[in-house]
Symmetry: C2
Subunit: 439 residues, 2 copies
């Protein structure tokens, strides 16, 4: 993409009431724009990252055997009356009346809708296990939306729902999501720790939050230090196999959110291993058994021919919120430092003298070469001061910058800067291009 | 994808009040499920096609130089008060009040939001031309939603907005979209004819609808027969060049929707060339000048330093509705016939005797081979009657079927069926695989 033809409205100043660094940087980098309290437009740069994050979430869901569908944003109130949640949900639910005076709502989650879809067509245990997920905009009418996309009202969520014949099957489904989440967050460069969590309004008796540690986290969390560096099992996990050992390894050590914190148990952790920190929730998984299937009569016939309510779980990832979490975990004074896997562009090309024939030709060659290799480049071809160009590229955090200036290009050289480390090197144009387009 | 692990709830019967064939087939093929009047869930098969259609629209927008962003589904009523449309829009607008009693609405279109985004950061003609688009769910509270996704209430729309310094620039922007639309629809196998159209509530003085001819079309249209087969210019168009000749070629011949129909002009077309038919609108483009930029003060400085309102146009494609239009144009008694470019899977594999070692091994080999080539396959590995398997694959319309049975595989052969023509052939397993994975 040529910057002269792009839409990248970077800001010099952000409103004084913007409190956390990810919110500031997303505004300054021209990634988002607030349209109403807690409601954001995703500007082109922000949308590119959002789609990368979304695609990683999708690929890891697919790998774990979940099947993607898409539920509508608006839902019938009657379904929520059936489950009993319509009156309980409170003011966070955005209730809507249409022209024919029917009660709708903007879905804050989709247990009811997916249970309705399930019961309409699945009748036998032979069609289980089943895990249906979608990545769709949700709305929760937070009383005090803040921190940008970290606590927005309209937000993008991946929500998966598992259906099994019995609790044992549901626990296997739960484990698949537990492991898929480890891989998902690791691919984005995040260290996310699964912690015992409260089940809240979803209900149920088994739940973990996946927490990224960050100073600006919304809540206090407590865990054994080893969990932070434990890493993820990676893509070769056999999701048809027994995942319990992988889960046990990560649940044997102490880890709990504030609501579930047990100070006595935490004291039992060796003092040097105790970690108490702020955390950002990026995922939340629940097993809740028959909570929805029983009132909504989502039943299947078992091997004995008897119909029984299915055992369900639900599994959320805050897709839009993840961008905030990634930035909180990866930035410096100059701006954002994107991990490669979610960077909006792979390569930044800075032309220090647009209009100079040698500089233009070198930049065009790099731009075409990067694109031909299947990678993406943002080419700053504008007639702007070098300082402003450097600052913008640092701010928006593209992993590798390649700088083309009249002096160095006269010697056939360009400068390469690695955004994360600030490391600079000089290479011939061809060497630089080979390095940028490799793997 | 193995069908045993997929979610494909095909229906034997559809409700009696389902009137048109695309709606019937989308329900029967397990592509969609109605959640409320005019509100649908996209089941896995439907979502796959929706994403293919969306991606074609996206690629052709990008090729024409438009830049993608994403605006939220909910918008502030105050922006619409600024443009003067809030009171005019009527009951089709879904109006919402949040917990703090602020007036929101579910966006039926986004001229106001995008104009607000534009005016906040673009101040000079040097940043023009600019075309911003998004592919986002919209809501129009139709009094009588019907015909499935063809006239839904919650629907997926691509809406693009162009910004130019003057009318001449805006006409060039209009032409780029005109040509991009020709290419977009052609890639989906559709013959879409641009027709002079009424500008309706968007306003403006230049507008074309892109119409797919179909017996079940919602409105009567009139055009010169040659336009139907005129085809699209294709991907090598230079969008920086002069597109006026391409546009003129297609606007010189008579073509108008019912609202704009001029019987006298139509009579001037040679009788054999006159075509009067039903049509489905799949795209609509508008030039409306300063209609929004003037009241909303979206101004840029020209070369003379004087600020002036920008000239705008907007350009819609009904992404979800396109699936209905494609099916209306491409089906037979057995079901849907997907054009290759939008097919949910490239290849269907039918195992006539699941559990038979030779059949299973052959199917697995084909399944792995198709996937390795970068194409997608739906493998019916279920223990089901052959007749039901054939009927399901015909119904869901995957372009190529490969049938593996115990008799033929004993001779090393499989049967290949082309869904569109019904043509069958026998080939060795390796030949068949080479044919399926080529190009």
């Amino acid at each position: 993409m040529r910057l002269s033809r792009y839409f990248l409205p970077v800001l010099k100043e952000v409103p004084a009431d913007v409190q956390i660094v990810s919110h500031q940087l997303m505004l300054r980098a021209g990634m988002i724009r607030q349209e109403a309290a807690g409601i954001y437009a995703w500007l082109p740069l922000g949308l590119r990252v959002l789609k990368k994050v979304e695609q990683i979430v999708r690929e890891e869901m697919d790998r774990a055997g979940a099947v993607e569908l898409l539920m509508p944003t608006l839902q019938l109130a009657d379904l929520w009356r059936e489950s009993g949640r319509y009156d309980d949900y409170g003011e966070e639910m955005l209730r809507i009346t249409d022209r024919h005076k029917r009660d709708l709502l903007y879905g804050p989650t989709a247990e009811e809708v997916v249970t309705d879809i399930f019961r309409a067509s699945v009748k036998s245990y032979k069609d289980l296990p089943l895990n249906l997920y979608n990545i769709q905009w949700k709305f929760r009418d937070e009383r005090r939306p803040r921190f940008g996309v970290m606590r927005g009202r309209e937000f993008l969520m991946k929500d998966a729902y598992s259906f099994d014949l019995d609790e044992a099957g549901a626990r296997r489904a739960y484990n698949r999501m537990f492991v898929a989440y480890l891989n998902t967050f690791a691919r984005m460069g995040l260290k996310a720790v699964p912690m015992k969590a409260d089940t809240g309004p979803i209900g149920g008796d088994l739940s973990h939050e996946f927490i990224v540690l960050a100073e600006t986290g919304e809540s206090q969390v407590f865990c054994h230090r080893d969990l932070v560096e434990m890493g993820a099992p990676g893509p070769d996990v056999d999701f048809d196999g027994d995942l319990q050992p992988l889960v046990d390894e990560r649940t044997a050590l102490y880890a709990a959110t504030e609501e579930m914190h047990d100070p006595a148990a935490f004291e039992a952790v060796p003092e040097a291993d105790r970690l108490s920190a702020r955390g950002i929730e990026v995922g939340h998984i629940f097993y809740f058994g028959e909570k929805y299937s029983r009132p909504m009569k989502a039943e299947v016939a078992g091997p004995d021919g008897q119909a029984r309510p299915v055992h369900m779980g639900s599994y959320g990832v805050g897709v839009s919120r993840l961008l905030g979490a990634i930035i909180e975990a990866s930035h410096d004074d100059g701006g954002i430092i994107w991990p490669d896997a979610v960077a909006p562009f792979d390569v930044a090309i800075i032309n220090l003298k647009s209009g100079d024939a040698a500089c233009d030709a070198a930049c065009e060659k790099i731009y075409a070469g990067v694109k031909a290799s299947g990678k993406s480049a943002l080419y700053d071809d504008r007639d702007e001061r070098a300082g402003a160009k450097f600052a913008t590229m640092d701010l928006i955090g593209i992993p590798r910058q390649i700088v083309v200036g009249p002096k160095s290009i006269a010697e056939g050289n360009v400068e390469i800067k690695v955004r994360a480390t600030g490391e600079r090197s000089v290479a011939s144009l061809d060497e630089a291009l080979a390095g940028l387009t490799a793997a």
